[in-house]
Symmetry: D2
Subunit: 308 residues, 4 copies
């Protein structure tokens, strides 16, 4: 089942290979320039901080349907242990086992490949079992701190939650941009709210997983045209399930990560942010969402914060 | 070996129990007000971002001397796996097992107890094996984004690295503050540079671990007086090893975490930041260092970034 | 909800504390004497080996209902890696994260406590977060190799699988003993087949978990009288669910592990063995079921084998 | 650095590909027939059981030199937790993360490949990140229970411990066989004692790791001629370090696992067994050493027991 021509046509139009040199491992993070960062800091008005990460817990969003991607297993290795003898200061310590993409996370550039290639034409087999991603690993990402813009598609469409299977289109994004009252610009990190996470927040993991709204295969061109640095949303897989085009699975992953070299985020909790933006009447803010530098990682948990 | 009277005297002077109400779980993070955040954003001038986290790797700073606190073990669970059949988009996925305090991290408020108590007088036995920290867990921390101030004690003393065993005193902090050209103020996150991490960066984990400079038992009063929100440094355990006062182990942990309710960070890489601050002639910046919200966690890895 | 008088009455009758001395950590494993082992070896006639362990896989018997007890997560850390250069011998290596009691396993003596006590009167708080079971850990168990006797209760009752909630009684055991054609004797390891595992083997983990047949609170006295060394069955929790006596949860665990000091096994696959015993007309065999010596472990995965 | 002609010559002489059919996944385990098992049981005389596994602990034999192969990290997920309310039966539960080949273990047939091939000619790329060994996985191994023979080379040479770098030759094996007073025969599992483990038992992990005695590249022919079913020894890597033939690394792995389809074991503690065999004047016994059936595993921890 090769990828259809339609995919390849879009791929050609959004491709960034070579754009920042043959050795580039940053992709669209190159768009977050010092000027962009400075302007992002200048968006802060009230100083209100809104966290966007889900709590990391064993009862997280993973249902077991994605093999090997386990919810965090947090275990104690010491509890009030008086290392230096009775009456001394006691320590507690803990450890975790988790999928790097199990919770609120960034997909790294090596999370997917197609046709044997990763971003910038690197061979897919640079990902190895003993070293992970030897190129384009998540540890190469520069700190993601830029202007964030919430494109609240659900709110713009007058709903709390888009229906499962809904394809968020460029038109949806533009309607949300109009609601936002600001134009998306080069270096922005765009947060697309579908409201799908409300299923999980209401205790229904299965409904959160499937069916799901997601980004249409037509949206990468829109992000490409606006020179977006990264995109995140509030769904489990980022994509539309069941897929928008029959038998075309994960096309947006392939376009963002492989063709554009653009990180994408999933399982972001945009509910409080949505309410705050609506309340303050502004949808742009300082966003800090720095990936943990796992060497060879194909992704990373992240604890993003929006500062209004 | 009970804690000496000297410890208890200091403890009484820095104690914050009840200061923010009997149910408070934030401690000195309460000091990071919206106004503080807004002012922090306003410190950004060049938009230069400097990451402060060590790469997360199996060859990390842990030597095995702290039982159960293992360096990150990163393993692949899928490599270019064509889930939906040959020729489709292929995915790579990975997992990690690591101590929450194995690398660049925040100590959570439950990381230590003394005399059976945690911050705000909560009983130490609220930390349990099956649920971790049921009070004061790291997931309760608000997003740590504030003004950061580098107190470059090593540089202020004209050295690259303080000697092992050196006690950083309030006088050292004030000399570094003078170098910084800015007064530490309420809500600041203070980064204390000893240069000790240079051992690790040079490949010598053992020398990094021991002997180590660290913060004198006299410094918590200084942080308390300045209303500092959190403190981090560039050592393995934060403390002086061998200890400043014979048989008094981890006093600063107990004062910061238990008495003051103040998070502290370890294994922060302050080398690039030190050079940048010296070059730009300013030592205050926007700092984003958001803990991962591990439910019940006694700490969290963190990927801090300073924005100059 | 204290334990009822009925429990305490049985507990007194089966109690083995002090029987093998005040420092004993073996419990009924003391009953596996060299003579017992020698006689067990002498039961071998055909030399046919029948494995009794479930495959260790992520899609194992755990449903997530027991917090922290995860199915095995098996990940590769190297795949055909030519460590010593191209053309040399290549190695693959792997790692696992799993609950010690997640699959076919032995409950160790510290797996449960009641009234603050473990077997032989040891305090329950000898189990600690940083060292696990400091007494009675699974590593103390001698190698479990003895005569095994299959008590095929399902077959004796003329069914493939006992109904959920069925209490296996001493009378059931005796009917199965009659079917077996051999009397259970001192040092035997008894395998009680309910047929419940057929749910899991048919792909229905939820039905396997609940409701479940199990051993009646009246059976420990029977095992005690026969001087059984250990007991295993083919259910998830060993016990009857919902419980035989309202609000009395896990009484058999408490009687076997705490009062008698007798290991018990769960998730044993007795299906092939059942067919073989019926075919050969004998239900006694050499059983090897050696626990992995996890230091401080409260249990251990085991790969038992019956030799007919 | 291709494998030398000498290797290929030996490989041709010991090759078992096709011997048990083109689809065989058992290799020399085929040699453990029911008759062999029956005869093995008949060797039991005193009923004395001797465990051969090292305790599984974080302070195990791994030094960190083999990336990703970590000592067992054992953590508690519940300690005396009264699930069903105060006063009820309390449970403790635990979890482990460990390399499958970290401690006393069997190398599975997929642990090494050479020239792109595994045993029986299967392609090496049947080992994948998401499923592990899709052919020849350790879960395919039949229960290893057979006659064991201790070839106590150290004792036969009149020493406690062979020197580092010593190549155990066929002549050494025959001298030990003579000491044993029994001829190795078809289906036997041979345990070769070098005494090297005494370094670890004395607390010196580094000396245990290197330099090490091991089996000469000439011994696989000897095992092949005797129709040995499996071989284990008391060293970290099984092989001689530094290597017997310059730049020929892990030749015995390649001959045993790939060419012969013979499992091999490492880190077996043969010290108590050595003393017992010498004392009783016999070196053959019933050996039970059943691998844990990790699906897709390239190896497995094992808790072997010898029954004299």
């Amino acid at each position: 089942m090769p990828l259809p021509q339609e995919f390849h046509d879009i791929a050609r139009r959004v491709n960034n290979w070579g754009r920042w040199g043959p050795d580039d491992e940053l992709g669209t993070l190159n768009l977050i320039t010092p000027d962009v960062v400075r302007a992002a800091a200048a968006t802060v008005r009230t100083g209100r901080r809104i966290p966007l990460a889900l709590p990391l817990r064993q009862d997280g969003v993973q249902t077991g349907a994605i093999p090997g991607r386990g919810n965090p297993l947090h275990t104690m290795v010491a509890i009030n242990h008086e290392i230096f003898g009775p009456g001394t200061v006691a320590t507690s310590d803990d450890t975790v086992t988790m999928g790097l993409q199990a919770a609120t996370h960034w997909d790294g550039l090596t999370h997917v490949s197609h046709s044997g290639r990763l971003y910038n034409g690197r061979p897919a087999d640079t990902v190895t079992a003993h070293r992970g991603a030897t190129a384009l690993g998540i540890e190469k990402a520069t700190p993601i701190l830029s202007r964030g813009v919430l494109l609240d598609v659900a709110r713009a469409r007058g709903t709390d939650r888009l229906p499962g299977g809904h394809a968020v289109t460029p038109e949806d994004l533009e309607a949300a941009e109009e609601l936002a009252g600001t134009a998306v610009r080069s270096g922005d990190v765009v947060l697309v709210r579908t409201g799908q996470l409300r299923h999980y927040l209401a205790g229904d993991r299965e409904a959160y997983a499937f069916p799901s709204p997601g980004l249409s295969v037509r949206t990468p061109e829109w992000f490409h045209a606006r020179e977006v640095a990264a995109v995140a949303n509030d769904t489990l897989t980022f994509e539309i399930f069941p897929p928008e085009i029959e038998d075309l699975w994960m096309p947006v992953h392939a376009l963002h990560l492989v063709e554009m070299g653009m990180l994408q985020g999933q399982n972001w909790n945009l509910e409080e942010l949505s309410a705050a933006c609506a309340q303050e009447g502004r949808y742009a803010f300082l966003l800090s969402a720095v990936a943990e530098p796992f060497v060879g990682g194909t992704g990373s948990p992240v604890a993003p914060v929006a500062v209004l």
